[in-house]
Amino acid sequence: MLELIDITKKFKQTEAVKNMNMYIGRGEIVGLLGPNGAGKSTAISMLSSLVEPTSGDVKFQNKSIIKNPQSLRKIIGIVPQEIALYEDLSAEENMKFFGRIYGLKGQKLQEKVNEVLEHIGLTERRKDIVKKFSGGMKRRLNIGVAMLHDPEILVMDEPTVGIDPQSRNYILQTVKRLNEERQMTVLYTSHYMEEVEYLCDRIYIMDKGNLIASGTKDEIKQILSLENTISIKADYWNEDFIEKLREHPQVNRMNIEEKEIVLVVSKNVNIFSEIAHLAEVMNVPLRSLDVKKVTLEDVFLHLTGRALRD
């Protein structure tokens, strides 16, 4: 239904998106994953006709929308990465403002506003000024405002950044419900793997302007079928231990965090005993040693040699 065809976007110094292809079908929830600066926001701005690509084409129902975006604009709703609201207006006033610019008015507008407020759980706070809202409430309103005109496609740019787990779950459930109840098509951008794993049917992964993987969750995890991921947990590390692991011929990649090291090793290699031995010699107080279930996070590590978030 909506696709990016060989899209490139250059800013003065940076090439934010390079030769990207993407397809979103009706009724799908598609995830777009990538670390900060990957080019996600730029990609979806082009997808939603807000930014013109330097080269390539954007098609909606097989028609280019770069010059004639009206058909798409009518049915798309966007949730910008920032809080895109009038801070000095109340929740309800914001809703009414954004509803009115879509031509809603009177009774119909009021009904729609009530319905969406209910959806995002802000009915009781409707009269409060946005400035005084918590981060999570602002986020919820930010999403609600995009749904007033019943968009067929909802594009969400990191809608859950910086909010508490409850609000986040609430938002995720809302998105899922909208998709199930109304067949709303959703493009969900995030750098949280868990969210994308929970929500999405298909996933695109970007890094530094490039699309580095795409497919269903299972397809993407298949990428790792030739390798195993091992998690080592301990209270602290020492340099020698890390150095030894790094030099180990069977270790393909590793990611080091304060209390966990994730190793990607070739399949069918058993280096458990070796690691345990090393830890003992080097005085690393091991807590656990597991083979991990493959997650998208691991795929990202596999593809880029870096963790998704710093």
């Binding site: 701005s45 939603s48 006709s49 807000l50 930014v51 013109e52 604009r73 009518k74 798309i76 709703g77 966007i78 910008p80 990465q81 920032e82 809080i83 895109a84 609201l85 009038y86 801070e87 000095d88 207006l89 006033e93 403002f97 954004f98 009115r100 610019i101 879509y102 031509g103 000024i129 405002v145 995009a146 005109h149």
Partner: protein
């Protein structure tokens, strides 16, 4: 468009801080630095017969807004001028006057003008009253002719100076302060109402509007009309305070002043759009605004008369400064009583500047966003 305006208006009522701050500053600064209220007139000694003092001439002199004419004996008058306590004095006679000039300042010409005007008026008055008293048709005709003649060829040689083209200038500290501070502080108010366009472009409100059926032009017009409204409201508040609370009468030119102010506000809204279109972030905006507005005020003559600015370079710069033309038009109207043709020059320059800044500003904004 209406929606945008109303949303901005509601936001304004919720947090009117900036507006109140700058409106208050304009008024307070004017009261403190402009000496409005007990403002001082220039004292000019005059002398002449007792009869002149109580009749037409004396009454007319009393009415001057700018000069305080003080009756003295001829000897005292000359002494005052000799000692340099007054720039010039006037010895009044029934059918003419004599200027005693101490320092040949620009004020001297102004004083002479004031006095000369009074004599012309006096003669006209006399002729008219004469005319009305006469019954005879023929005589009336004759008098009418005489009146016209008197009007065209006054008994004493007066050349009507246009102060605009000579070096002469009038400086009225109170008026100047009201104009200057109003023009200056409204720059801030207006710029801070245009800034939200910039922030809305950053935070996605603008994107939301672009995706909606709203037209781009409506988005700009809604916001810019609002900016104009808030800036102009500030001006109205200031001038109504001075007119009706302080009792300053602006030589009866308030409507004209407010008209000029409307044109000036338009030019500043455009300037604000232009500034917003060239800054990269809010910090730059916050840094640029005071630098720009203060230099505009200094070289445009908001803080002191532009006539004391001497540097060629600064004078050239002042030519691209809307504030210069705002001051010029206001002074022309209120102090120099210029005819409308004279005022049209600064006013049309302001309109032209407004159109250019607006065009370039919006163009830059649009280009940068893509």
């Amino acid at each position: 468009m209406k929606g945008i305006f109303l949303a901005r208006l509601t936001s304004f009522f919720r947090s009117p801080g900036t507006f109140l701050l700058f409106t208050g500053m304009s008024i307070v600064f004017t009261l403190i630095l402009g000496g409005v209220g007990g403002y001082d007139k220039i004292t000019v000694p005059v002398s002449g017969d007792e009869s002149l003092q109580t009749e037409f001439i004396g009454e007319a002199l009393e009415e001057s807004d700018v000069y305080n004419f003080k009756w003295q004996e001829v000897e005292d008058l000359k002494e005052t001028i000799r000692r340099g306590n007054a720039e010039a004095g006037v010895i009044l006679k029934e059918n003419g006057y004599e200027m005693i000039v101490g320092i040949d300042s620009s004020n001297v010409q102004m004083i002479e003008q004031t006095v000369a005007d009074i004599y012309v008026n006096k003669i006209q008055e006399e002729n008219i009253s004469e005319l009305l008293r006469t019954e005879n048709e023929e005589e009336r005709e004759e008098l009418l002719m005489a009146y016209q003649e008197a009007k065209e060829n006054p008994v004493f040689g007066i050349t009507n100076r246009t102060f605009h083209s000579s070096d002469a200038f009038i400086f009225d500290r109170s008026l100047h302060s009201i104009f200057g501070f109003t023009l200056f502080f409204v720059i801030y108010t207006i710029c801070y109402t245009v800034l939200p366009i910039f922030t809305q472009k950053g935070n996605g409100v603008w994107d939301r509007m672009i995706l909606s059926p709203l037209k781009k032009s409506e988005m700009y017009i809604g916001n810019l009309i609002y900016s104009f409204f808030e800036g102009y409201l500030q001006i109205l508040v200031i001038f109504f305070v001075f007119r009706y609370l302080v009792g300053f009468d602006f030589n009866g030119e308030l409507p004209g002043i407010l008209l000029i102010m409307a044109v000036y506000s338009f030019a500043i809204v455009s300037l604000a759009i232009f500034i917003t279109s060239v800054v990269k972030n809010i910090q730059q905006f916050n840094a640029a605004l005071p630098i720009l507005s203060v230099s505009m005020a200094m070289i445009g003559g908001a803080f002191w008369p532009i006539e004391i600015v001497q540097s060629e370079f600064l004078l050239t710069l002042s030519k691209i400064n809307p504030l210069t033309y705002g001051m010029e038009a206001l002074n022309g109207l209120v102090l120099y009583n210029q005819p409308i043709q004279e005022l049209l020059k600064p006013i049309s320059i302001l309109i032209l500047m407004g159109v250019i800044f607006m065009g370039v500003g919006i163009h830059l904004m649009e280009r940068r966003h893509i």
